[in-house]
């Protein structure tokens, strides 16, 4: 008898990997997928056998490392968020043709809502495009079970298998029954077969034919066939759901007292959808409601759609998370039963902001001082929140701060007045996708300033190490890559470092870089100050704590609130002045430089 343990969905997936002999696990951090690899590492530390777990420089690299593991016959897995899969889509499409030896899982976590992403894209569509099967778990418990199922599928059909959890699975916690962790008994054994592993286009044609055969067999494979959740009844209507929407629907149908009246089917493998299931639906029911997130992947495979209601008939919203209150309305209308009108009107919440004392805030303040009329391109990370400060004009995707800066430069090249362009990018994001763009900017002599916000960690996703940290996923010591050397290696002639806390020197440094960039080309400033919430750094912190106060000369002009937005600066409406919140203040002392009237003072 196993033990029940409270587990985050991502932990449950990691546990599934451990229990099913996955010996190579790779990832690049991204919400909502980040905790899969960190949990795997934590569990591995408790165990005795040696497995390889690592944060890779980006998702494409992570994918290729894990895939090679599978080519040697070992079980391996790569995890990422849905937009990370875009970065890894190149190897994904090709690996589907070549197939696998050891079971190979691609865990791509979607974010309907979106809660913490640029898009609401549906990874199941990527699976469809790549022509690989995808499993869609409804809960942490099912996610863990699906890891076992996916490894089995992957090895029977020699194909990569995707597991597509969503935020509500990744970041739900549930009591999970633990199974045993099986020791790995396989040895790496790469069998050379150039016609397969290095296939030329001619062979790719045959591989494509093989892939189609695998898909057909998968659409008849019984173990992953849809399941009927309620008892057999004769009905004209049926509901089909997958993922967490199936869990919501189940609860709602019970509450609406239609559990015994309308059949509910849960699809475990949305692609390829089982052929017999499609036929059964079409032959049996006059009306079929399909509920899934985020795109109508199941719905689109129901070829004869005259009886189908879903996203394509506007019965289910195309955009946004399918919250249970939305599903309740859809299901009650479909079933023809009355339900109370749900009106979730709520007052707006508090918008996120950079932490009190965050070094990014100090960097942004200096950038705005040095290039007040500049165009500010930025990137993906905590520093996206620089938009609250008016210091971020664009955020597209990982690495685009650098290439968009180049694009703006080329667009304005022939104008009489050319704006200063200042790009900001985090250290981890620079490694991930900024380096090729910087090389391009050097070659094209792009006149812009790149400020690399080096806080020595991947902060937004929970402080994972970067290639500059010299640390592995489990805190083990590794080699490191120095950012300045890398920048200079890209061919940048102006590369200087500074501490943004030291505004007296940092603002002139940015000004110098702006001036250089106007005449010569790319100038890089590495803004170095560790993240305040990085535990690894906290332990060896010797940053002096500067106590500040606001004196009586404060006239409540709110310049500091509007342009610095530190959570520790509190505006008192009645007194019409600003004060310091002693609980939130980190003692960075940067705000002393911010007040135009010099009313914020260090207490000596």
């Amino acid at each position: 008898m196993g033990k029940r343990k409270l587990m985050l969905g991502n932990e449950a997936i990691a546990r599934g990997l451990m229990e099913n002999c996955c010996v190579m696990a790779t990832s690049y951090p991204g919400t909502p997928a980040s905790e899969i690899l960190s949990s795997f590492v934590a569990m591995q530390k408790e165990g005795s056998d040696s497995r390889h777990a690592q944060w890779a420089v980006n998702e494409k690299v992570a994918f290729e490392i894990a895939y090679a593991g599978s080519m040697t016959g070992l079980r391996s897995a790569v995890s990422m968020k849905q937009v990370g899969l875009n970065v890894a889509s190149d190897p994904l499409m090709s690996a589907a043709y070549l197939g696998v030896k050891g079971g190979f899982l691609v865990v791509s976590a979607d974010d309907p809502g979106p809660h913490s992403s640029q898009t609401e894209q549906d990874s199941r569509l990527m699976a469809m495009m790549a022509k690989i099967p995808v499993l869609d778990p409804d809960s942490p418990m099912q996610a863990k079970e699906m890891v076992a199922m996916a490894f089995e599928l992957s090895e029977i059909f020699e194909i990569p298998v995707m597991i597509r959890p969503t935020t509500r699975v990744c970041h739900a916690r549930q009591d999970i029954m633990l199974g045993d962790i099986q020791p790995n008994e396989r040895e790496a054994d790469f069998q050379k077969d150039p016609a397969r592993w290095a296939a030329t286009p001619k062979f790719r044609f045959h591989l494509h034919q093989e892939l189609e055969k695998k898909l057909k067999a998968l659409s008849f494979y019984q173990k992953t066939a849809p399941i009927r959740l309620n008892v057999e009844t004769t009905a004209q209507k049926a509901v089909v759901a997958s993922g967490v929407a199936a869990a919501h629907t189940q609860e709602i149908m019970k509450d609406l007292n239609i559990w015994d009246a309308i059949p509910l089917y849960q699809v475990l493998q949305p692609y390829p959808l089982h052929k017999e299931f499609i036929k059964h639906l079409m032959d049996t029911y006059d009306e079929i409601l399909v509920i899934e997130e985020t795109t109508g992947v199941i719905e689109m495979q129901l070829a004869d759609r005259h009886s189908v209601k879903g996203k394509l008939t506007n019965s289910v919203p195309m955009v946004g998370e399918l919250l249970p209150e939305i599903i309740q309305k859809i299901v009650s209308e479909f079933a023809g039963v009355h339900t109370e009108k749900i009106d979730l009107t709520s007052e707006p919440g508090i918008r996120p902001t950079l932490c009190a004392g965050c070094p990014h805030r100090a960097s942004f303040f200096a950038i705005k001082k040095a290039a007040p009329k500049g165009i500010y391109t930025s990137d993906i990370g905590c520093y996206t929140l620089g938009l609250n400060l008016g210091a971020v004009d664009t955020v597209l995707c990982m690495g685009a701060a650098v290439s968009q800066a180049a694009g703006f430069y080329h667009a304005y090249k022939n104008e009489k007045k050319r704006p200063d362009i200042v790009a900001t990018i985090g250290d981890s994001t620079f490694f991930h996708a900024g380096v090729p763009a910087l090389i391009d900017a050097v070659v094209q002599k792009v006149r812009f300033v790149l400020v690399i916000l080096d806080n020595r960690t991947t902060a937004m996703t929970g402080n994972q190490p970067t290639p500059a940290s010299g640390l592995g996923a489990g805190g083990e010591s590794l080699d490191s890559v120095d950012i300045k050397t890398l920048v200079e290696g890209c061919g940048v002639k102006f590369c200087k470092e500074g501490d943004p806390y030291n505004q007296d020197e940092f603002i002139p440094l940015i000004k110098e870089a702006v001036k250089y960039s106007r005449e010569h080309g790319p100038a890089v400033v590495i803004s170095r100050h560790p993240c305040l919430i990085d535990r690894l750094w906290k332990d060896r912190s010797e940053q002096p704590r500067i106590q500040v106060e606001v004196d009586d000369n404060c006239d409540g002009c709110t310049f500091c609130i509007d342009h610095f937005e530190c959570p520790a600066l509190v505006f008192n409406k009645e007194e019409e002045n600003v004060s310091i919140d002693p609980i939130l203040c980190s003692g960075c002392g940067v705000c002393v430089h911010v007040c135009p009237k010099k009313s914020i003072k260090e207490i000596i």
């Binding site: 913490s116 916690r173 189940q250 508090i350 996120p352 905590c382």
Partner: protein, 187 residues
């Protein structure tokens, strides 16, 4: 036994930690449990919301008008997330003054920030409020909470077994809230 509780606050206050303590206390008492949490960008000082469902459920989310109670680490939370509450729910709110309820909710307020400052542990607002909630709910609500303060203390002792100092501070915070109830009951 089925209970649904919403826990809300802003990133950094320890909403997830409180949710986890309660979820683990539910498991100790033999119940199934589901939680749903906010991660990512919102954790940087933005509004965060946890759902806790104890008993037999399939979905991790609470629907509007279904929650039995709300634990609000910020005073504004009642207005923001009140629509999750059923008409006779309870709400325990961290606030300097009394908060007027919209429906027949039993609303209990306590200045947890002040209490946390008093014990020189400003980051323990979450545990102070939890302690206070455990005291007032079991006294005045017909639906007693699925766990007791001792269950929560046991969970803390297991979690922080090798961090004695942190354990002591956490127990102190919970008890500070718990024993603060004295005559302050307001409904």
């Amino acid at each position: 036994m089925r209970q649904q509780i919403v826990i809300s606050g802003v990133g950094g206050q320890g909403v997830i930690f409180v949710t986890r303590l309660l979820a683990e206390a539910a498991i100790v008492n033999g119940f199934s449990v589901f939680t749903s949490e906010t991660h990512g960008m919102a954790q940087r000082g933005g509004t965060v919301l946890s759902h806790l469902k104890v008993g037999s459920f399939a979905s991790p989310l609470i629907r509007p008008y279904k929650a039995d109670g709300l634990l609000a680490l910020k005073a504004e939370s009642l207005a923001q997330h009140g629509s999750y509450l059923e008409s006779d729910a309870w709400a325990v709110v961290n606030s300097t003054n009394h908060v007027k309820p919209k429906f027949d909710w039993s609303v209990f307020t306590v200045d947890a920030d002040k209490l946390a400052m008093k014990i020189k542990n400003p980051k323990s607002v979450n545990l102070v409020l939890l302690g206070y909630a455990m005291a007032v709910i079991s006294v005045s609500s017909e639906n007693k909470l699925f766990c007791s303060i001792d269950d929560v203390k046991n969970v803390l002792e297991n979690r922080l077994a090798d961090k004695k100092e942190m354990l002591g501070a956490s127990i102190e915070a919970i008890e500070t809230g718990y024993y603060h109830r004295n005559s302050k009951l307001e409904t």
